[in-house]
Each structure stands twice: as C-alpha cells, then as structure tokens.
Amino acid sequence: MRINLTSVLVDDQAKALDFYTDVLGFEKKTDFAAGEARWLTVVSPDDPDGVELVLEPDEHPAARPFKQALVADGIPYTSFAVDDVEKEHARLVAAGVEFTQPPTAMGPMTTAVFDDTCGNLIQIASMATS
C-alpha cells in the first residue's frame, strides 16, 4: 500500500487549476469529466511521478462550514515543502497572494501560511536556515 493522492477541497475547480498551476507552479497531471465535476490533479514539476494533489469540489454541504471554521482560526488544510520559505513568500506576495502568517521560525522549521483563494489556507515549510 502506498499514498499516491492527497486532496484539497476547492470552491471552483477552474479557478483552483489556475491558482495551483499559474501562481503556485504545479503542473496539471490528469483532467477528465467525472459526473458533473472533473477528476483534476496537479503534481510538482520537481516530482512529476510523485504524489498527485486532487483539486476536489467542496460541494458536500458540510464541506464549506468545515473549511470556514478552519480558515477563521488560521488552520492550514495541508502543507507543502519548499527549499526556502522566505524566498517562496517573496515570490508569492509579488504574485498577489495573501498570507495570514509571514515566514516565522517555529522550532526546527520555518513556516508561512497563505490563502489559496479557493477557501483554504495552505502552509509552506522548510527546515530553518539559521
């Protein structure tokens, strides 16, 4: 058994695809119709055969209140690894991304948290440089 997929619940799949590819820099891996929605996944260009992130519709009635409660408390839905949080933060801010937490040393890690515009907060993390 191995983990090949993880997902984020997004409020709009087309908007999510734009954000996760054009802004974050992931690449579309699979995209086909699945009922009224799409089976839509992206991968990191650094690991195209690695874990796929499913951009999954948040249409279940419980999904949005759940997401809103997490966002209100600043809780990220998931976390991505980056080489340098400071550098990634600067790049994303320049691209108009809103952060709820700028890069902050948290023990052995440096982390930051941004809004994915699709109803989620996402953390980025790297090992602290200093």
Binding site: A72, G74, Q101, T104
Partner: protein, 110 residues
C-alpha cells in the same frame, strides 16, 4: 489604601498564568496572529502541550483584561497585543513603587 482605578486587577489576574504571559510575549513580536499560529508558537518554541481550546480560553481572558484585541479580517480572526493596559499598570502600580522618594533616599544613604 491606594485608590485603584480598577484596571490593574484584571491585568494582574490575566498575567498570573505563565501560558498567558508567553502568549503576550509572542504577540509582542508581531500583530495580527491567528489562533493556529499562536498554538504552533506555544508548541514549537516553548514545548507546551496545550490544546487549541485551552489557548482560545487563555486568549479570552487576555481579551477581557484588554491586553488582546481580536479583529475579524474577512474570513480570519486575528489577535493583536494592546499595550495600553500594560502601560496603565506600570503607571499606576509599578512606577510609583520603583521611583518612590523613600527608595531614592535609601540609595543615597548607601
């Protein structure tokens, strides 16, 4: 008896708890922190095993003492430190003691 304005008691009560003092110190570093960030700071920087609910309760106490303000910025709840009650406590209670004439006289006699 000293006539207190009533503002120092809630501040001393709020600051009587070590976790709340750490929250104040962490909030002094940057305004507008989420509950998540404060929880991670307590865990990763201070090794505290404290639930999110407990941190939220501590923040309520700090808010009631006027030390923390909570702003709803769209979808987020952001916590900031209000230093005014700290200054008031300093002015009303600490400073008169620290800078009293008796104290200065003692020092001059040393």
């Amino acid at each position: 008896m000293v006539a207190y304005s009533g503002s120092v008691d809630p501040v001393f009560k709020a600051l009587s708890d070590p976790t709340r003092r750490i929250l104040v110190e962490e909030l002094a570093e940057r305004d507008e922190q989420t509950l998540f960030e404060l929880c991670v700071r307590l865990m990763s920087r201070h090794g505290l095993e404290v639930s999110r609910q407990a941190v939220a309760k501590h923040l309520d106490v700090l808010e009631q003492a006027g030390l923390v303000t909570i702003r709803r910025e769209g979808k987020y709840r952001l916590h900031s430190l209000d230093r005014a009650p700290l200054r008031a406590t300093w002015d009303e209670w600490f400073r008169p003691l620290v800078t009293s004439d008796d104290h200065q006289t003692d020092r001059q006699q040393e």
